[in-house]
Subunit: 117 residues, 2 copies
Amino acid sequence: METLQVKAAVTPEECVVTRTLAFVGSRWTPLVIWHLLDGPRRYGDLRRLLPGISPKTLADRLHALEEQGLTTRTVYPEKPPRVEYALTPRGRALGEILDSVARWAEEDERAGARAAT
Amino acid sequence: METLQVKAAVTPEECVVTRTLAFVGSRWTPLVIWHLLDGPRRYGDLRRLLPGISPKTLADRLHALEEQGLTTRTVYPEKPPRVEYALTPRGRALGEILDSVARWAEEDERAGARAAT
DNA sequence: CGGAATCCCGGTAGATACTG
DNA sequence: CAGTATCTACCGGGATTCCG
């Protein structure tokens, strides 16, 4: 087993980590994933959970997530129409990483608070 | 111990994960961190290791990283001048996360390759 | 060598209005 | 309800030039 591919990458485009982080780091994306960790959510649910997000942006995020295989989109042919978004196993796996990021970031804030004392 | 703060966040600005990922996800940043994982590097080293990066962008990244406490900047008053950048413990901790991201992303590519077969 | 200053371009994402 | 269609503004980041 050799080193991780990333080591070899020289440009951002070639680097999987860069590509992944650029994707997940786009505005609202982490919060969308976070809410979906609680279970499937409807488009309108997410809009309510994310006050300030525009319909276009939310649609963009959901499309991108689906395209990356992180979420699924299920249409229930009812009246009124119902559409549910849910994380795939891979999406949930990414959620785990977001969790570790959160822990890392909060260590920071704690240290900062301590230093400020 | 209650839930992670992130859960409570509703806007991207309030969310530590969003802020962190927006920061780390900016172009070239992961690669800069990656190279620093090998040890301290000089400005010129990094420019050579990152073909295509502009002086401004590299300076921006290094400033931001230093401001976030992820790197240190050491000036050796020699002639010609020498400046070294190195990861702090926190910076290295973030490197660990990048590593998990890399593993996550490569699972993806392997699955994709399999599906494409 | 290790940057800072300036200019500029392209893409991201927000606002708004409308539709199946 | 669950989006799409446009149009715009902002700024991240690249190219270039110059300085201590």
